[in-house]
């Protein structure tokens, strides 16, 4: 989308083209990062459903394969919802700065 448009250039009625959130990378907000452990994942999609930023990456076979850190803002919802806890956590949270 064009930057700094004047009001006469805007779409009618406070509308935006769909999908503009893709242009807004929220990854730099993160203080903690989720780390994905493929070997413990049972591919239940809980993280994928709950992630508020669509930051869970699926591969072509629709398997969870990782986190898109450009958008993941570190809220930890995926970690909370992942049913593999307590022992075999497929997603763990780690501080961004140690």
């Amino acid at each position: 989308m064009k930057k700094n448009m004047g009001y006469k250039e805007l779409m009618h009625g406070d509308a935006l083209p769909a999908g503009t959130a893709a242009e807004f990378q929220t990854g730099d907000w993160r203080s903690e990062r989720p780390v994905f452990h493929k070997d413990k994942c049972i591919n239940c999609y809980f993280c994928w459903i709950y992630c508020p930023d669509s930051a869970i990456i699926l591969d072509e076979e629709k398997k969870v394969v990782g986190i898109d850190y450009r958008y993941c803002k570190g809220c930890g919802i995926c970690n909370t919802e992942c049913p593999t806890k307590p022992d075999k956590r497929a997603i763990t949270m780690e501080p961004e700065r140690k």
């Binding site: 448009m5 009001y7 009625g13 509308a15 769909a18």
Partner: protein, 392 residues
């Protein structure tokens, strides 16, 4: 054209039936209850195709209206007083999203103290939310205004929500003769509702109501300001077309015996009817009295008012609400401000009257005109802002 006996509420409900909106979401509140109650009867009887959403509050009613309008539906609702206030969180969102929702508003005093009768404090309290506001003098006007509002609000250069008001009980519950349109006439008059940026348009998907901070909020406010400006012409065009088709004339304001008047009364709603009777009597006695009725309060017809009052010597500005600013009522405040640059202008007196349904009688208006006569003769206003008819 059928001639019907209708109360203000019935007239509004009848207009709604003929409009046959896609969605009505409403919650009952005196004295507007009947509007949507009668309409829900039409829904139950299969006389309309409307999806009626019986919500649990007015906040939800307006929210559902915005949602349905955003999906591309023609949407209506009705309310009063506290109900309108409970909607008020959503009212400016409806205008910002440019959804042409039409609301049947029955003017009733705001609590507290709790009161169910007419004044204009409810409608005036939401005057700055980007809604078109049209006041009706009687049931006929209520009917005509609702029909015209559909055309006005759906006009592409406007696309703002609008409310047409009646005065609680005085109009809403009094039966009068109205001349209605035939059902097919209404259908033909209104035409198809045109969708714009519908959230259900999968070919052209849009996001509505996104977070909008320092970078774009201001830009998103300007189109509302422009649309309100455009609406003035559209209201006049719609009125002209309506007069051509059905013979009844409307404008932003209406002048009654004002052309040569030396003293005038400026009012909104049902009080205008009472004033006409007094003016006729005064005219018989040779007193040059006239009326300026404000039909449209938003957009505010400032230039038209200034022009209409330019030859008048003294005018009584009638406000059926106060706004606790120590500057009188909202009509006075805006009218007086509009007069600032005018070369020829009358002496102004603000009468805040009729709060909570306190009656304004023929004698009251006679007294107000007598005071205006005095002001015109002496060139002096006795008291700039009067709270008329209150006991001390």
């Amino acid at each position: 054209m059928p001639i019907l006996a209708k109360t203000g509420n019935e007239a509004m409900a009848e207009a709604m039936r003929q409009i046959n909106p896609d969605v009505v979401a409403a919650y009952p509140i005196t004295p507007a209850t009947e509007v949507v109650m009668i309409f829900s009867g039409f829904v139950a009887d299969g006389l309309v195709d409307t999806e009626f959403v019986a919500v649990e509050s007015e906040h939800s009613a307006m929210s559902a209206c915005v949602g349905a309008a955003a999906a591309g539906c023609r949407v209506m609702t009705g309310t009063s007083s506290q109900g309108l206030q409970l909607m008020s969180e959503i009212l400016p969102i409806a205008s910002a999203l440019r959804q042409p929702i039409v609301l049947c508003e029955v003017n009733r005093a705001l609590s507290g103290p709790i009161n169910i009768h007419c004044d204009h404090s409810d409608t005036m309290a939401v005057r700055d939310f980007g809604w078109i506001q049209i006041f009706s003098e009687n049931a006929q006007e209520a009917y005509d205004n609702i029909l015209q509002l559909i055309k006005i609000t759906e006009n592409e250069s406007v696309r703002l929500p609008g409310m047409a008001t009646t005065d609680g009980f005085i109009i809403s519950h009094c039966m009068e003769k109205i001349e209605a349109l035939d059902d097919n006439e209404v259908k033909e008059y209104l035409g198809e509702h045109k969708k714009m940026n519908s959230v259900l348009d999968l070919d052209k998907p849009v996001t509505l109501g996104a977070l909008d901070l320092q970078d774009y909020y201001f830009e998103h406010k300007m189109p509302i300001i422009e649309a309100m400006k455009n609406s003035k012409d559209v209201i006049l065009k719609v009125a002209k077309d309506f007069a051509k088709r059905y013979g009844r004339e409307y404008g932003l304001i209406e002048e009654y015996k004002l052309a040569d008047a030396e003293i005038a009364l400026v009012a909104l709603g049902s009080t205008c009817g009472t004033a006409r009777v007094v003016i006729d009597e005064l005219r018989e006695k040779g007193v040059k009295a006239g009326l300026l009725k404000i039909r449209v309060f938003r957009p505010f017809p400032a230039e038209e008012i200034v022009k209409a009052l330019s030859k008048v010597k003294a005018a009584a500005i009638m406000d059926r609400s106060d706004m606790y600013s120590n500057q009188g009522g909202p009509l006075f405040s805006e009218l007086r401000s509009a007069m600032y640059e005018a070369k020829d202008k009358p002496l102004l007196t603000n009468y805040v009257y009729g709060l909570g349904g306190r009656e304004i009688s023929l004698e009251d208006i006679q007294k107000i005109f007598a005071e205006q006569k005095e002001a015109a003769a002496s060139g002096k206003v006795k008291q700039l802002i009067q709270h008329f008819g209150v006991r001390e």
